[in-house]
Amino acid sequence: MGRLSVNLCGIALENPLIPASGTFGHGYEFADYYDINCLGTFSFKGTTREPRFGNPTPRIAECTQGMINAVGLQNPGLEATVNEELPKLRAVFHKPVMANISGFSVEEYRTVAARLDREDGIGWLEINVSCPNVHGGGMSFGTSPEAAAEVTAAVKAVTTKPVIIKLSPNVTDIAAIAKACEAAGADGISLINTLLGMRIDLKTRKPVIANKMGGFSGPAIFPVALRMVYQVASAVKIPVIGMGGVSSAEDVIEMMLAGATAVGIGAANLIDPYICPKIIEDLPAVMDRYGIENLNDIIGGAHNG
């Protein structure tokens, strides 16, 4: 076990870096640029039961130190993901991968989870109850403790793989939702998904994004994400994957001090496709600078005293 390795729900990660769902395709897209086996793991593009084209364009808007997206869960659907995408993924990534699942009903979450549970190479199921870009789907399950717990229990009933619930920051008490998921059997919590945001074009006086609103991500949201990771890590005993604006080795360490066992990298992948290997390479020197021998020693370190 190296000084970067951590344990996420019983599965060892060589390092805590996990490219976040929606910013890393099905992995093979990045394998053209570097050997993605250097990653701890990654969470592949959110899968729904049926294929989805997603929202109309424009789907992207720039912000100060961030961006808004309203992709709307575009994905090839469960069958094509299993039959076409996973074989391509397995050809280039040889560690357990994280499957990200979205749904419009508890039944859909259960169906997709049960099918992906049977797939070799999938280490964890990450359940997205927090997509802000789809009406009637995703986020509605993540905004009440009862609904989040219901999805958690339904998925847990059909899989033996660790279940990680991905939470929305667009709520008043994220810790209460995390606790409800933990009580329903969740093995981990990942947060945060994007913050609901908006931009208006001064020339046209209309929203930049066709869907009007979208998910705000990037370095600008890092302090909000860090605060919520800190709150959730205090509230639950299960491991937390911290994400939201992480762009450097220093950010990774800060997230882990807030209580994250592993750290998601999202928007940064879109700006610098090589950001993850760069952060992995930078980590040992940054750890040395702050007197950190092993990353496991600092998880939740900011909660002490």
Partner: protein, 245 residues
């Protein structure tokens, strides 16, 4: 795709709000006609996708219009400054279908990528005709550059202050052509699509997130399925285009 640090050799206005920037890398820059660079500009979070105008070994030239904050900052940059670029993005034009008399039609800042295409078609000995569409005479750029390649160049202006009066399509039937390559605003692409009597390749524009095919920010529906403008495009073949109203 490569990530390269490009040094600015020259950056100057060639028409109102239109700039030509010459850049140099320390190794060859991958750049086929119709491909684009994605430039990181200090102070802007997202990169700016800008098509390749000309490329030769480790040198690459772009022509861009100042339309917002990012391009304003780009226009203010000086020779010697550097830009972090993702290079060799997009599919680019396929030259193999051109026939002997390809027709290239560009509108405004859709014109620059046609230059490298014209250069390579001329090198193959093709008889290249080019229509450059502008709104008015003062906006005209690149006319001499295409002429110097030995292309037959027609300028059109909407107000008739220069060349043929009307849109670029007004000059299409002046001579026979074997194939069409085009880049410009979507209304122009639609007009060329309707008016063209041969096959062709059309370069599209969309707001992009990453520029290399992973964020799904710039999708389009085609006859052959969903495509990403940044990775599967920006060039689509005429027979696969599905216009959405």
């Amino acid at each position: 795709m490569k990530q390269q640090l490009l040094t600015i050799l020259d950056n100057r206005a060639i028409a109102p709000q239109v700039y030509r920037m010459a850049l140099k890398a320390d190794e060859p820059v991958p750049a086929k006609p119709g491909q684009f660079l994605n430039l990181q500009i200090d102070g802007c979070y997202l990169r700016r996708p800008i098509s390749v105008h000309d490329a030769d070994g480790d040198c690459v030239t772009i022509i861009y219009k100042v339309v917002g904050r990012g391009t304003q900052m780009l226009a203010a940059m000086q020779p010697g400054q550097t830009l972090d670029a993702l290079t060799g993005l997009g599919n680019g034009y396929d030259l193999t279908d051109s026939g002997d008399r390809p027709l290239l039609i560009g509108g405004g800042v859709g014109i620059p990528p046609l230059y490298l295409l014209a250069k390579q078609l001329r090198a193959e000995g093709k008889q290249v005709r080019v229509i450059l569409g502008f709104n008015t005479a003062s906006e005209v750029f690149c006319e001499d550059d295409f002429a110097a390649l030995g292309c037959n160049v027609t300028v059109t202006t909407v107000d008739g202050s220069r060349g043929v009066k009307g849109f670029a399509t007004a000059a299409m039937e002046a001579a026979p052509y074997s194939y069409v390559y085009t880049c410009g605003p979507e209304p122009m692409l639609r007009a060329v699509y309707r008016a063209s009597k041969t096959g062709g390749q059309f370069s599209f524009e969309e707001r992009m997130g990453c520029g290399f095919g992973v964020c799904l920010g710039c999708p389009c529906k085609t006859i052959t399925g969903y495509k990403r403008i940044c990775k599967d495009g920006p060039v689509l073949r005429k027979e696969e285009i599905l216009w959405e109203d």
